[in-house]
Symmetry: C3
Subunit: 339 residues, 3 copies
């Protein structure tokens, strides 16, 4: 979509410097931008790249200098750029209309403008609200509820009964509502503990490729509003994740753990069962939070077992000095024995 610099300035509440009629047609990195692309810069290094760019329009912070381009000044250039991109770049369509090969149960209720790709399967009593796109090979098990304006990429599985809010994006290969991993050992074998609870995904959630989210055992697994999960993340049964929390790739959250709001969890983190990670906490990449432990609000932790970042760094520094301490101890021993 094309916008003038003036229209963009209004959209972003940005201050415009230069031609208000300048046409902006897309977004790009400085190196690959064409004359009508929008770029941004929010660091001296980034500004250097912008100065060498063919882009005609740039979003900058209040102080930055960049001659020869139309400038939009915003307090947070990267945020303004993301918001501009959401308008300038048309979202890829996932499906158009209802493909003739889609298998849709007669009892499924789809809003009139829902689109469904080839070979999607929609079972009995599924409900899908307006504007949602369902990709090829998607499987929506019976009684699923899907909100409005969702983007379900090709090859997503929703087990029966899964509930998904509005404006949710599910990437290819994700599995929502699979059985949790719960067994009771007895008489020489594992008996399956019932995995018959629900799974609810609130509005504005995005879930990465090949990520798995189990249904509750007897309770409900809940992913809060605005949560973003990266690829290959595992969310076990009965987990709850609060609003606007963010979880990087390959992290696993075990059964019945509760993650607060605005929590940031790095990649490959392991959170064992029945943990509590409170609001605004940060868990560094590859950290491990043992069974039943808490990470307190606003705490930053790292390592396995996870501990406050400062303590991790201090312990790690001391670990590097043990050989020196040993040498000093040896010398002291020789002195004392000499006495």
């Amino acid at each position: 979509m094309e916008m003038t610099a003036h229209e963009l300035a209004q959209l972003l509440s940005a201050t415009l410097e230069g031609d208000p009629a300048f046409a902006v047609r897309g977004v790009a990195a400085p190196e690959t931008a064409g004359a009508h692309d929008l770029i941004y810069a929010d660091s001296p290094k980034h500004l250097q790249r912008a100065a060498a760019s063919a882009a005609g329009c740039a979003i900058l912070g209040p102080e930055a200098v960049l001659p020869g381009k139309v400038i939009l000044r915003a307090a947070q250039p990267k945020l303004a750029f993301a918001r501009a991109a959401a308008v300038l770049v048309a979202e890829q369509r996932i499906a158009t209309g209802i493909h003739s090969t889609a298998v849709i149960a007669p009892s499924a209720r789809l809003a009139p403008d829902v689109s469904v790709g080839p070979y999607a399967v929609i079972e009995e009593d599924v409900e899908i609200s307006k504007g949602t796109q369902v990709g090829a090979f998607a499987f929506l098990g019976c009684r699923c509820r899907i909100g409005a304006d969702c983007r379900i990429f090709p090859r997503v599985t929703l087990y029966p009964g899964a509930r998904v809010g509005d404006r949710v994006t599910l990437h290819s290969g994700s599995v929502i509502g699979s059985d949790g991993f719960g067994y009771v050992f007895g008489e020489g074998r594992h008996w399956k503990f019932p995995q018959v609870g629900g799974v609810e995904i609130a509005d504005d959630v995005e879930i990465g490729a090949n990520t798995t989210i189990d249904r509750g055992a007897l309770e409900t697994t809940r992913i809060g509003r605005g949560v973003k999960l990266d690829n290959l993340v595992q969310v076990a049964h009965n987990v709850t994740i609060g609003e606007h929390s963010i979880v990087a790739a390959q992290t696993g959250i075990s059964g019945s753990s509760r993650i607060g709001s605005r929590v940031m969890i790095g990649g490959q983190v392991g959170i064992a069962d029945r943990c509590r990670v409170e609001d605004d906490a940060i868990v560094g990449a590859q950290a491990g939070v043992p069974s039943g432990k808490a990470v307190h609000a606003r705490q930053v932790v790292w390592g396995t077992p996870a501990r406050p970042l400062d303590r991790f760094k201090e312990q790690y520094a001391w670990l590097g000095r043990v050989s020196e301490l040993a040498a000093r101890l040896k010398k002291l021993e020789s002195l004392v024995v000499k006495d």
Copy 2:
């Protein structure tokens, strides 16, 4: 399915206290149970939740007191609850009949009551025994053998030649029999080592969503009877896993490692190639067992490199005391030098 309390007591070899004709129709958590749901309690905290529940029937241990409900007493309440649930809760059907869109090779042999969902593909010479359900978009490569009463959820891939026993559950997105990861470097590039072995999954195995199990290189990858693998687990070529072992999410087991029987492996564990984890060992979450190492029978290990749990805890405790030791050493140095 509905059962009387008397029938449940007989099924579970439990002692009944209260109305033998009481109708039980489902299982639930204490908080969400209705009057005819079954609950259980096996801890004081759990018993408190049970006391506040609307459930009419509860499984308890020998001593627990819970007035106003029909009680079933069992030595292991959770185990009894799991066994009751297996009867009370009907399993979700994955497919009913043979869907008209399934592509089934003429040479495939399916027992009369096998059911196959929409768009499943079953190649030449596949054999499927009675009662097995094959979900939508399942791909069963040529010459696969599937036993009786298996549950193959939508969107599972079996590479050609995979063998699966009876009562096996494969969750959505799992891949069985993919090529192992083996190359020989020479002349400046990687040459693929042949990955032409087999993969065999014994009876009563359950495999989680998006888990991958590679075929053997020249040998056979074997998953033993009753093994349970969680989501996103990786099992490499030539691995063997003994009976009733259990592997939590995102764990990886590298080439030719041998896991014994009744082993418990936590989440995100890494077991390098050619390791041996003996019967009844426990490997804690995120532990790493280096190449060629053994974990002995009944040993409990943690950390990377994995070591006995007690040693891990002791070393970790000492790590936290190095700064104190350094301070004491410094003080001693000042005293000795003063002398």
Copy 3:
């Protein structure tokens, strides 16, 4: 395919000892080999297994002795075996012809001998070169370019615009070109940073089951020639991986990190964002390279944070001696105080 020992010797530039007309029909492990299978041995233990084998022909190093078989002598027996297997063992076909159920957009351009399995979906303007096989349920989004002689196993997703070179193998469940994980937090929520860049996979790459490779944000994610990625690997936006590098299962490489050529990365490694791993480096299993750090050319690192292997081992050894140092310190204190 059948070959004589003489033909094999020529193919491998190996020295033949024994009957040049001996027919070799397959490859096997020593234990399962039949009379006309080829085996190899490259260690004393391996040679013992070979001696007990029914195989009629074996590849050995220059010195090894193995009576009663046709021998092919090569400097690197395992490499020669892999090369022989590539000729002796016919590759499993993934698709034959264009299946009538494949949904192929009229604007897609497929070379005449491309084969496409049941229910594959090929969108507008896709281009596929000669000899490529596309498996069942593969989804090739619009404008994808696929080179010659590729093997795309069933149930692979290529997001729109992905580019794949010649002789590339993509295993089942892999997702190429999904959106990267990039958000800007502002006004109480996460705004999606545009994920509109490209993804390019060069020639001779193999990508494991359920592995995910994100498209670039504004740039391009690049997987170099001859790279091999194992199962369940995550490659984030803007990452580049140099030629002939190899990445074991469940490793994650975060945004904008640059991996050099011939790098070896173990399983479950985490490489944070904007790291640099230079040519020929080795990163041990489960290691973690923190944000922005470099691993230098030919360095071998392990641990989290990753450090040179020797240093890791030394520190780990000292960690085991802290309790002993503490005891010696205590004794010394008692002596000095006595003074």
